[in-house]
Point group: C2
Chain length 391, copies 2
């Protein structure tokens, strides 16, 4: 679970190049995912801010709370590690940051920053650096849109874990059926598959770090599956249910998601009909993920399959989203995003059909856009016949 | 896992009262924890914003993405549910919000908001509501500083789960020792105790919802334990290690944390010395949590025990923090927070001693401030003799 130094140094070089072109003296990086992406420092996020400074002159420092000092140094973060003691502090983290910049003659610097920073924090920064000028920048977001080959290898490894989690979830239910007792609760299945994925990570990697999680999952069955983002409940799976396993895993915080729809017992005519529409939309939408087409255009073709089948009222969300250091990130495979697809983008393809009171149908793959067409990184079987759980 | 309607209606009344006094037409609530606190809607947080409007005239609506419509309605959220289709949307969520406000004659409203909102979102809001005036407000943060009796019951239930997780973690290691094989990895212990806590929640409650998680944990042993917030690694626990289980659990997102330090095998003289100083500091700091004393003052007394023992160089963080709908929230038991303690505050008390290359020592209880003194909600044994794991 490492990326080579060359990955980080290359990304940092590209940032510095863009800073110079934009007339900025440096970039203040504040989002944990951007910090992990640029210098490889992954940490438990709390109210204590972490500030990464990248100077247009290649000077870099990482300001972390004292409790993360040794941890940041051990991760070989590609920046000098500086610390403040605590939050909120008699001297605030922002005052510490201002002191470090002034010591470098940067009290009146032209500072680029990302607009994910909170209004409260930004107000504090402006107060302690009254002579600086500030401009938002999308330099890191732009870099993160396409993935480097070294990152793609991590995504592929995460996809293997994610597919294994799907198999583990199915086996867990089949084992309960074979044992003849009650079927498990949604929450118990979620706990089982997340544990399975987490175990795989610890078995496979010596050095485990993450930004938000190693493995996660939403599990819902029957009427609950009609809520695309419902939290796993204490309801037990029942014979006749449609069941969605919506799973994710990350290796060095390179995320993948893999979602499948199962039917417990012999599918009804309605279940077959909804399933096939969701399945076809997912196939068409995934095949549409080709270089040069826009996110909006791909999304329209994908969701069009569901609308054309007369199921437009059962749409609850877009086709998909980018995946990288965050499990949801730009670009957005949605009507409102005109971004053209480019080689190296990693996207989810996950249209869904949600029938209130009955259930939901969603299949998601994590897809790499290549010059030769879409490549599905997740490969668990997708068809209905393969995903009927005999009961 | 419910709070009565009276809890929400009472909190909303207090918000409206404060809005009127401040000359605001309404409050725009944007933080998931504030939404859960005020109207009881818990949801999977993504890039799709949720906006809760609380008018000074008692009018309320919750603007959610379409994929959460039915879910928000099923949770009996105490507000009218409105939706936008998707993110980023051809029409943005902020434009939808502006339309809903204009339809109510509030296009030029005086709007209170919380400074946790991002700069990017705030810029979009100002652009779509150019005639509105905006002022930050701490009305919800102030309410959340002290917990209602109904909330305290949930904290007590979470404390029971958290203590049970500590016992499960210890038993997991003892079982491995008894079996004569290798000791478990930090990550495996974390997976086990989180699973144990998650199972308890699903066994005990019919309706399970949460904001960020049900149960969580950091586990570190030996030299890794010297990093107060290190992520669980793939290192196996070894005989002679100091081991910290830093665990948390939540019931209806009312958090508790419980952390204990164990020694695997007969403690060395150094281990005894460091443990006793951390233990004494935690005892003194917890006893100091009395009504009317300030956070800064309590923290100084607590950390003073460690400094007076000549171990000031091993300090890496403050005594503690508030706990409620978030696992870390105000007030901060730190030098920079002058907040006086009041009955109903729930705080962590968790000073630590961290010896680079050797290990770490931290005991944390979740403490309720009462008129009669501090009440420890977590009760797992704290002493060294009780927390030696025979090996």
């Amino acid at each position: 679970m490492y990326l080579p130094d060359s990955f980080y140094l290359g990304a940092l070089d590209r940032v510095v190049e863009r800073l110079g072109a934009g007339g900025h003296d440096g970039l203040l990086v504040t989002h944990p995912a951007d910090v992990a992406y640029l210098v490889g420092f992954c940490y438990a996020v709390t109210e204590r801010p972490v500030y990464l400074w990248i100077g247009a002159d290649h000077d870099r420092f990482l300001l972390v709370p004292e409790l993360d000092r040794e941890y940041a140094e051990q991760q070989h973060s590609h920046a000098l590690v500086e610390t403040y003691f605590e939050y909120p502090g008699v001297t605030s983290p922002e005052e510490h940051l201002a002191g470090l910049l002034r010591r470098r003659g940067l009290g009146a610097a032209r500072i680029a920053y990302t607009s994910s920073i909170s209004v409260g924090t930004f107000d504090r920064l402006r107060a302690v650096l009254p002579d600086a000028t500030w401009a938002t920048s999308d330099v890191v977001a732009t870099l993160r849109l396409t993935k480097a080959p070294e990152e793609l290898e991590l995504h592929r490894q995460a996809a293997g874990i994610c597919d294994s989690m799907l198999a583990a979830g199915r086996a867990y239910i089949e084992d309960a059926i074979a044992a003849g007792g009650e079927l498990p609760r949604e929450g118990e299945i979620a706990r089982h598959v997340i544990g399975h994925g987490t175990d795989l990570v610890y078995q496979r990697y010596d050095r485990v770090v993450f930004t938000t999680k190693l493995a996660g999952g939403l599990v819902y069955a029957g009427p609950n599956a009609a809520n695309p983002h419902g939290l796993p409940s204490s309801r037990r799976v029942q014979r006749g249910d449609t069941l969605i396993l919506s799973l994710g895993a990350a290796v060095l915080s390179r995320f993948v998601e893999s979602e499948r729809t199962f039917v417990v017992g012999e599918p009804s005519a309605d279940q077959r009909r909804y399933f096939e529409v969701a399945r076809t939309a997912q196939h068409v939408g995934t095949e549409a993920m080709r270089v040069g087409r826009t996110c909006a255009d791909v999304n329209a073709e994908c969701l069009g399959v569901i609308r054309d089948a007369g199921m437009g009222e059962y749409l609850r969300h877009r086709q998909g989203h980018g995946i990288g250091v965050q499990n949801h990130e730009a670009p957005w495979v949605e009507d409102g995003d005109p971004t053209p697809l480019a080689p190296g983008m990693v996207l989810s393809s996950e249209p869904g059909v949600y029938v209130p009171g009955h259930g939901g149908y969603r299949i998601s793959d994590t897809v790499l856009v290549t010059a030769d067409g879409p490549e599905r990184l997740t490969t668990y079987p997708r068809g209905l016949e393969e995903n009927v759980i005999a009961a």
